[in-house]
Symmetry: C2
Subunit: 355 residues, 2 copies
């Protein structure tokens, strides 16, 4: 099954269009421009400082003769088989874009966090998308590094060598000290603790997609999920922290600790701990040596029990660009519908060579 | 695509037959008997102490009313959709069995090490099997923990979050001290160094399947392989080692170190180091603490660079049983032909529930 194969270009390259030109979208464009088997035929972003520019120049590369379009209309996506989509984290906010792409006959690979496994938290939109994709004969996939890989797909893959699985635990520690200013603010750095709690209560702080990862793991294991809890707590700085973007005083927030648990009855089946902080507190598996203070740590309780450590952790921005672009040939070969990373062929690097 | 779906039992369980009742085959049977969605309809082994016995009793479980057949003939596999096959490591030695199963209309999941990626070292048999499987509308897969997971599929999966990959290195250290006697002898323990070298030269020592893993990794990365080197060296004991099965004197062999490298021109692309020894020498990532002296260690050179550590290492026998049985639903849904683990849906535990 080769959804969209009829839209291969005469030169046999896969035509793609990039929707959204924030930092991740721009990273995707840079990688796509290096892939000989892929042809960037369009780019869409409504920002006044982007629309109208050559997309190559916009991302710091040579001009490519593709002008950024302000609107997602049929002209903007003509000639594309696959849309790479990175405009937002919340499914409801991007539903119209996803449906427009599907109805234009494009498969979609999106970084929308809630799309990674929308069947639990957003069953209505998931069904609508799935039906539209099947009708159009295209594939829709939500992916990235988190959700989409390190706290869901990778633990699922590890269970492939288990005869029994009782519980899945993933812990990710991200040191935000050297990351972009917006990310440092997104994790609450510099806030007073009560302001942090207020923003959490309003749903404005916390990593979007973590509950989806837990639901995806549970679905992969065949566990019926009765409840998913999502708790976001502040990490309070015990000493001042300075970054190029902001200052944190002792007693202010240096980052967040988010814990999502998925329950089958009164039995915890999945636990995901995400620490995103400036100078996250050291722990035995997040040594300070070498400057890399992040870590990814998986623990499968079962037979055999398994522990997996990624020292330093997987660097998020690059990994998300990779997850999206490496998925292109897999999506081209997938059956139509709304799929998840666990349904596709096993992940892997794609050189971008003619396909 | 549901190869063999027409052979689902009236009760909707998947009918399987087990070919080969050595330690791994018996482990597979024990797991299959626990899977409500699978029905064991046959078992074949020519050994006089096995044929004619009830297969449940043979594996230390309750009688199941299935008698071990001495020969792989049509009666022995009647009612099965999938054959689970564990009779040998070398492809040429099991080709007739594999072809007979395929021609009987069964998909095959085999632990035959050389079947994990036969396209490089055994292209003729690979083509024959592929053609026969397509003709019969069934799927043939070689899998296990090594080859099939830890030194090939897992590194491939990790590259799914890389935008660039230059080199893949996997190192596996297995402490054979507490393993079965046959395994301890298979790795040369207790031999004199010159006897070890003679057996290596005769192709009678060394882990079968390691060159196949390297070829599989290269194929997954899209690297043309010009040469695969396979070097097996003895590890010499510096002090006496006693196990329940044998004694090693200082100066005798305590195990082996096997290194396989895959080359694209004069560029090393894949390096696999396998240490299998009694009390393998400690190294920084194989601490002696806790008694678990094995480790699996992956290193991807690329963007981002990635390191993955499985402290203790993945326990082989259980993991191979798991890899085979967890593949059942994936093979049922796969297209016909000779596939590899990288072509199937992402791996993961299967509870064995009705499918």
């Amino acid at each position: 099954m080769m959804a969209g194969s009829s839209a291969l270009h005469p030169d046999h390259r896969i035509g793609v269009v990039q929707i959204g030109l924030g930092p991740i979208g721009q990273g995707i464009v840079r990688r796509v421009l290096e892939m000989p088997g892929v042809r960037l035929v369009g780019a869409v972003d409504p920002a006044p400082d982007k629309a109208g520019q050559d997309v190559g120049s916009l991302v710091g590369r040579a001009r490519v003769g593709v002008e950024v379009q302000p609107r997602l209309d049929p002209d903007a996506v003509a000639g594309a088989s696959v849309a790479l989509h990175s405009t937002g984290s919340h499914l409801e906010a991007v539903m119209d874009q996803l449906l427009a792409l599907v109805e234009a006959g494009l498969s979609v690979i999106s970084t929308c966090e809630e799309l990674a496994w929308p069947w639990h938290h957003h069953p209505g939109p998931a069904q609508r998308l799935d039906r539209a994709a099947r009708r159009a004969g295209v594939t829709v996939l939500g992916t990235g590094v988190n959700p989409g890989f390190v706290m869901d797909l990778l633990p699922l893959v590890m269970t492939g060598v288990c005869t029994r699985v009782e519980h899945v635990h993933a812990r990710r520690v991200v040191d935000a000290s050297r990351r972009r200013g917006p990310l440092q603010r997104k994790i609450g750095s510099g806030l007073a603790p009560d302001e942090f709690d207020r923003l959490v209560a309003e749903g404005r702080l916390g990593h979007v997609g973590l509950p989806e990862s837990a639901a995806l793991v549970a679905a992969g294991m065949g566990w019926r999920v009765d409840r998913i809890d999502n708790v976001v707590r502040p990490l309070i700085a015990s000493r001042p922290i300075e970054t190029p973007h902001l200052s944190v005083r002792a007693g202010q927030v240096q980052g967040l600790l988010q814990t999502v648990t998925a329950w089958q009855g009164d039995r915890e089946r999945v636990r995901l701990d995400l620490v995103m902080a400036l100078d996250p507190p050291a722990s035995e598996d997040a040594p300070t040596a070498g400057g890399a203070r992040g870590v990814d740590h998986l623990r499968i309780t079962g037979e055999p029990p398994l522990e997996v450590v990624v020292p330093g952790g997987i660097f998020g921005d690059t990994a998300t660009v990779a997850a999206v672009t490496n998925a292109i040939p897999r999506v081209m070969e997938a059956p139509p519908g709304l799929l998840s990373v666990k349904d596709l062929a096993a992940p892997g690097w794609w050189s971008g060579a003619a396909w």
